[in-house]
Symmetry: D2
């Protein structure tokens, strides 16, 4: 008997990916999808690629019936996620929640004012959410019910640098990373206008992207991450590099050990020693690819992921699996490998 999942605010790109993944999930089934603007319409009105695969229709979020629902995935916009959580808890829902918005990622509520420009409406709930980068934070403490799913750039940068931050007290990482247009959402914008985007690269929020506090929260205060985000001319995927100057006593083999120790038993991180990963193999996959190379005292790290999957939807299902005590890879990796994970 499959567990029942409600997806709240599921009309965006990440919502579409969540439904696609859930339809193929062997252990859970999506039974409810809400959307304000598409209420009453078939799910395929917002997600035409799902035609021929689902008979679900969108429910009005004000009208949603959650009795019988085992867990909730929440894909509201930043600033709305917290309100929806408050309403959910007020309604008596007490199952697992994975929130894909940014609203419970920061431990310090004041950061929302500074980085997102809104005052957090329910700071008292923040402590009940675990920040959920599974490779770093799982297994979650016993009794964890709520997970804040990391941001797309935050996932990639944190996974690229975490093996370093565990071994160097302080370091400076010079990061440049490019993301695809789906990262800006389904609403047309000047920066996603085709003639503007095709054949173009454009840096934005230079040294002040809102995912930086997440990265710092994961890596700790010793990590000085200088980050140039940029938009690239493709739809899906994040690709980037980090330059780190190593202390004189670190050998290349030490760095290899750092990365292998961090990720060899993690099914969703593929490692590339002495190589930087290409973007395309990560796209349409639930993996974050991480490679590295050392030359003298220079360490360069490369990373690639699908911003809608490991950067959002598949990571949310990875978290859902963990919260529901399902195999971590369930519904995400089709394999003939004996996939192992530290937590499953």
């Amino acid at each position: 008997m499959k567990k029942k999942i409600a997806l709240l605010h599921g009309a965006g790109y990440v919502g579409g990916e969540l439904i696609r993944l859930l339809l193929a999930h062997p252990d859970v089934a999506v039974t409810t999808v809400t959307s304000r603007s598409f209420a009453g319409d078939p799910v395929t009105a917002a997600h035409p690629h799902l035609r021929g695969q689902t008979s679900l229709s969108f429910t009005d979020p004000g009208n949603v019936e959650l009795s019988g629902v085992d867990a909730v995935l929440l894909a509201a916009e930043h600033g709305k996620g917290a309100q929806v959580v408050v309403e959910l808890l007020d309604s008596g829902f007490d199952g697992p929640i994975v929130d894909l918005s940014a609203d419970f990622r920061f431990k310090d509520a004041a950061l929302y004012d500074e980085w997102f420009g809104f005052t957090h409406p329910a700071p008292e709930l923040i402590a009940s959410f675990e920040y959920g980068l599974p490779e770093v934070h799982a297994p979650y403490p016993d009794g964890t019910r709520y997970v804040a799913n990391p941001g797309c750039f935050a996932t990639a940068l944190a996974l690229a640098l975490w093996p370093v931050s565990r071994h160097l007290d302080t370091f400076r990482a010079s990061v440049t990373a490019l993301t695809g247009a789906s990262g800006s959402g389904a609403r047309p914008k000047p920066t996603t206008h085709f003639p503007t985007r095709e054949g173009n690269v454009r840096a934005y929020k230079i040294l002040r992207h809102q995912h930086l506090p997440e990265v710092r929260q994961v890596l700790g205060p010793g990590a000085d991450v200088q980050f140039i985000p940029a938009s690239g001319p493709w739809t899906r995927g994040i690709w980037g590099t980090a330059h780190v100057e190593l202390p004189p006593d670190v050998r290349p083999s030490d760095v290899d050990t750092w990365f292998h120790a961090a990720y060899d038993d993690k099914p969703f991180v593929r490692t590339y020693p002495n190589e930087l990963p290409e973007l395309r193999y990560a796209v349409h996959s639930p993996f974050c690819d991480v490679g590295w190379m050392v030359s003298g005292r220079t360490l360069v790290i490369g990373f690639a992921e699908d911003n809608l999957l490991k950067g959002a939807a598949s990571q949310a299902i990875q978290n859902l699996n963990l919260l529901m005590h399902l195999p971590e890879t369930s519904g995400l990796i089709s394999t003939d490998l004996a996939v192992t994970s530290a937590y499953s």
Copy 2:
């Protein structure tokens, strides 16, 4: 001494191309560019690629001073062009005008209600405009001062089929043609949203594109043109095919003669016998490329052009050259050929 040109409503993509071309024109100079939304800003605010090349600023269209201006290029939106022309003439301007909007293309004012959804504000002026597809309509009658510059699809379809329409009393052309995202203008739309457009093809206004009446006006009532317009995943350029069933007595060599006779002395149409042209060689060029192939009674015609150039800006300058009695190719073709034209 260069002639002075005013470009009215020059903040869009076509406006940017017009300014770029005019900066390189040996015989004319752009001295005024208007824009409502950019009034007072440097031209490079709307057209950053022109940085380092021009010191012009946009003038408010309500404030424009046309004394000393020798000719006007008008790149207003459809439905606004006619109003601007009325104001121009009211102000006493009596030089040449090339209107790039659709507003003076149809000889029958009622077509505007039907195809564009507005009632023409100055039907009495329509007769004073020549419809200006130079390869078909030039040389213009003596004294012509006003030219309606053809639409982008209309230019391509009319040039592809005109050699046929001169020789067959009736024929049916089954046309499919794809255009780039710049054809939709500089304002972001759902159909030009990068994730929507990349790797996609989408038909629209199927069998009812607003350029069809122009094509029929050029080709005459014997041409039954069935046209599927579609959007393709690129920024610039129109590429398409036409299938025509030939009468039994037409030989392949007849068709060759039709096309060569039509275009061999026209500098802006490059012909490809027994071949269909690729899109990319026409893009960033002022040419319309036309190829054809006959197999049995099937004639297929291929065509390619840059929608912003031969489909708009470079054709407007071609018309401006003709109206000002300059060489037809001036400012448009850099060549070591003795470029000839029937009209220059």
Copy 3:
């Protein structure tokens, strides 16, 4: 207990898609993959996107052990498929075979000389293969063991026109269709060189594409299909249009009936009445999308599919499912619909 599948010559793009699909298939498992050039290498050497998902290595095709194998998928190049089939049968293999090459598609062996430039090495085997466009040809006759999997363009054109060919004794279809670069295979060619392909459309094999005889074989002699194939600037997917002039007595509602009757119970064809399908919803899916519109006596039909999936790999698995008496959609559609099919 999953059935065991051997994939012969699985290092190309279609091979990579077959392995990906088979890894997720609930009823069968791929246990052998051959490749001459990659023999001994892990499957991920040719298909890096499968890293983290499979431990298979390529076997030398000269060395392959098929005892215990329940069925074979054959993805050799055109002209090699027949040789491999001969060797397979000589070796005593008597399970189902789906051949993705062109070598058993034509009923008339002489067509190979004419359209592919080689003399068929085993014409006596042709009759034992069913041409396998399931929507048209399934259920296959009892005892069918061998299926020739249709070509990518052939699948799309045949599915678009089959509902017409069943109702009109003769008709002429003017087809223009564009395909992605993956259709040319994994080996770099001038026509798939990025600077050549990006932003370009190029017609090729105009009116003489080698998939035409397949289309005619499906549709019958009354169908006069004039086909301009073209290459488009994307990696995956076929999109095209067909114009058909209808006899005077056909009403729009007749046409609707033709298409609905043909496909309403076929899970892999999605229909779009009074609309032409976009390319992008078909890409990365096992569906062929077919839409149509009637205006006067003009019928236009649009079609879209993923050339590597419905045009190759997923259709091969659809055929494999049928040959092995599995549900037709097994491993291909993840759905909450009660998927029905005429044959499963």
Copy 4:
């Protein structure tokens, strides 16, 4: 009377751009173009976009007649340029030469063994070539006849970092830069295969790109440049970032002064204070765009150029202009500005 230019080995992408630019040049004319593989063919066989613009045909390089030629542009492959120069000088040609190959860029001949894998055939000629990044090295010494035109990445990196290197004795620059597929030339390669390149980013020659010695030669030994080159999914253009840690006593306004002092009088470098340039405005232009931003002790620099223009063809013509004592911008910038340059 225009000066006569011979272009040797002009069948590649850079050759095509050189011819296009020379056709529009007011002061010089291309009269000879050589190519081994296209000898006897019209120039448009290799450069179809030039159809309708030139009647030139390729000459066999073994047969070329240079009497009457005023200057030579040389676009041979790396390793062939030096041989051609030797033959040119042996033949008695004594006019200006701009060599676009790498063969005379390094002052130290031994670097060719190390970075290009060949032994320089004419090391005695190296001293007679000026390394020609005009913004840094012009005006060239009186009597300079030969210029080695810089590499594409070298141009961009050197222009981005030169203002820093003039003011900091030592600094470390962490650079990531992406280039388009035209940078790999006209021959198809696995890395320029469309399905490989589209939607992909791939790092290569990590920390060991062969343009690094050029950059070091320009910037001097105090510059420690760590460079990750990558290929991006577009045809034209280089875009990149550099991170530099500033000494504590440098103020943001100092940095502004460095860049303005370096480039305010240079017509081909456009500066972007407190901003990083987008790729697209530099593409199809002869400009290198350079922007910078300071935050605390972090300086980030962004740069963008067209690899075929400022990275090759237009810079070669800029050098040709300088060698022939023509205005530096002649044939390259169409402008209504009083374009100034320190050297013209």
